[in-house]
């Protein structure tokens, strides 16, 4: 075992000095390789962390949201529907929600307005998300004017700017009282945007949803699991979009790496001949080439992954923000919680390190099987 370790040590030692001899070429390769891993890892880390974040946010969400449908569109739901739902065994904490969107022509942005169950600031007051506060330069105590459904102006006072910790979901959010909400949108008393309910037993969620549908045929119950799936699909689609764009870069790299790795120069061939002539076996030469490929690809992989980690979790993904976070005018600025999936890192490893290492070994194997006496004739 000791001999084996010493052998690896000696061969690695020689490999490193070999790499140092072709500094320019290897540094260029290392940079391109690192950049590629960095881009791919950034997309992976970011979409994964976002998905994780979304699922954490939704953890506290109700199990079922009931929407009323009219002509295939989401319609307001009468409060009387809640009585029918409360009668279903297993359904609890049934209440109506009021929320909607308000287009601000000044900012050309959509705000999400929501009436919380326990709004403590009272009528005439609102709490706004950080995105709105930032873009409108509006802070606690300032007034914010809206245009009502009938064209009349409506002025509300900002009582609080929401905590930046929840910015992913609250950047464009305005919390408002029920009465102000109904006045702003002209929504009749007793009507709600949708109804939410909690189901104590997780196994009964689908059954309760089925009962709601049966009791109230013009409604659409949406389960939390369906929302999570939708989030997943959206993030998968967006990351897929980036990966498609990056595939051109990947292809360019593959050609570059193949050319570098497969095309042994005359000097490299001669060197392999010398090594064989002085007593190296074909397997020793391949071992050296294996370490060479591994050193280049592993260093690039680690550097790329590390840079991507910093990019995603410390610089707010400056490069891909517009595509991955959404198209809204009010981009949330928030720090993602670092979360990396071992499966993803392993996939990236096998897609980058393994092909390159193989590409390095194959041409050397061809060169290493030649008779060493070619050196005598050079």
């Amino acid at each position: 075992m000791r001999i084996w370790i010493e052998k690896q040590r000696n061969v690695i030692d020689f490999t490193l000095s070999s790499l140092a001899r072709r500094k320019g070429k290897n540094i260029a390769l290392l940079l391109v390789y690192t950049l590629l891993v960095f881009l791919l890892a950034s997309v992976m880390f970011f979409t994964h962390a976002l998905r994780k974040e979304a699922s954490l946010v939704l953890q506290g969400a109700p199990e079922i949201v009931v929407q009323r449908m009219a002509a295939g569109r989401h319609d307001l739901v009468p409060g009387t529907y809640m009585d029918a739902i409360r009668a279903i065994r297993g359904a609890s904490d049934v209440h109506g929600r009021l929320w909607g969107y308000y287009f601000d022509p000044v900012m050309r942005a959509n705000y999400t307005l929501m009436v919380p169950q326990d709004f403590s600031f009272g009528e005439g007051n609102i709490a706004v998300g950080h995105g709105i506060s930032r873009s409108r330069f509006a802070y606690a105590g300032d007034l914010l004017s809206f245009r009502r459904y009938d064209g009349e102006p409506m002025v509300l006072t900002i009582s609080e700017v929401l905590s930046p910790a929840s910015e992913l979901v609250s950047s464009d959010l305005i919390l408002i009282s029920e009465r102000d909400f109904r006045r702003l949108f002209g929504m009749a008393e007793g009507m709600f945007t949708d109804i939410v309910l909690t189901v104590r037993n997780a196994k009964e969620v689908a059954t309760v949803a089925g009962k709601v549908q049966k009791l109230l045929p013009d409604t659409r119950p949406i389960m939390k699991s369906e929302i999570l799936r939708t989030y997943d699909t959206i993030f998968d689609w967006r990351s897929g979009l980036i990966v498609v764009i990056l595939s051109a870069a990947v292809l360019a790299f593959v050609i570059f790496a193949w050319d570098k790795a497969s095309g042994l120069s005359a000097e490299e061939r001669k060197e392999i001949g010398i090594l064989k002539a002085v007593g190296w076996e074909t397997s020793d030469v391949l071992l050296m080439k294996f370490w060479e490929g591994t050193t280049v690809s592993l260093s690039s992989f680690l550097a790329g992954v590390l840079l991507a980690y910093v990019h995603v979790f410390f610089t707010d993904v400056v490069l891909f923000e517009p595509v991955l976070k959404g198209w809204s005018t009010l981009y949330p600025t928030f720090k993602l919680v670092p979360y990396i999936s071992a499966y993803q890192v392993a996939t990236l490893f096998f897609l980058t390190v393994v092909p390159y290492t193989v590409a390095t070994i194959i041409p050397s194997w061809r060169a290493a099987t030649i008779d060493p006496d070619s050196v005598m004739r050079s």
Partner: protein, 226 residues
């Protein structure tokens, strides 16, 4: 020590441009002697050296090394024989460029798994033996002809092989350096090494250190010497 039996080596056999480099050579080489193969260019000296040194296989015939027939050995075993039995000094020295003289000397021993510190110590001892220790950290391409050759000799000796094979070792040396080389050969002989040299330099084959001169022409032995 080394018996060659009816050795024949044909390059590109069966093709229009086939070339017979060695043609029916039978010879016995004694241990601890300095044997020289001499002859004009193309006489088959280098090919014969590469066959003796297990660098290539003969097309026909057998080579026996200390009662062991080595011609039919698989590549791996042949490499092992080459590594443990022969040290090579090439005409162009064939030092690996870009690494130091010391690293070049250590190179043949890397796959053997000797500890780096002990290997380095032995390599430095060899460089010291040939008076080039002060140049140990110099890259091989910065060495003069004489220094490069002495580095190549040190490399040939790192695995302490019983046989040293040298192909035209003085081809790139002036008279003074060629004489120094013959001094080294004398030291090798004194340390009970078998030395086989292919040369057409009279300074070498007329040297008193040489025990036997084998003359070759057109792939055959013209005179096998005493």
């Amino acid at each position: 020590m080394i018996d060659l039996k009816d050795i024949r080596k044909v390059f590109n056999e069966g093709k229009a441009h086939a070339l017979t480099a060695v043609d029916g050579v039978s010879l016995s080489l004694e241990a601890r002697q300095v044997t020289v193969f001499r002859g004009p260019s193309g006489s088959g000296k280098t090919t014969l050296l590469s066959l003796v040194g297990c660098m290539a296989r003969p097309t026909q015939g057998r080579i026996v090394l200390e009662d062991r027939e080595i011609t039919s050995l698989p590549e791996r075993f042949l490499t092992e024989v080459r590594r443990s039995t022969f040290g090579f000094i090439f005409q162009q020295f064939n030092l690996v460029k870009g690494i130091t003289a010391l690293e070049n000397v250590m190179l043949p021993a890397y796959p053997l798994g000797e500890s780096h510190a002990s290997l380095k110590r032995r390599a430095r001892e060899l460089l010291d033996l040939f008076g080039i220790l002060p140049r140990e950290s110099s890259r091989s391409e910065w060495l003069s002809g004489g220094e490069a050759q002495r580095t190549a000799i040190a490399r040939a000796l790192i695995n302490d092989p019983p046989v040293i094979i040298a192909d035209e070792p003085t081809a790139h040396l002036d008279t003074k350096l060629s004489r120094e080389f013959m001094d080294i050969v004398a030291r090798l002989k004194a340390s009970r090494k078998t030395v086989i040299i292919a040369i057409h330099d009279p300074l070498v084959y007329e040297s008193p250190v040489i025990d036997r001169v084998v003359t070759m022409r057109d792939g055959r032995i013209e005179a096998a010497g005493p």
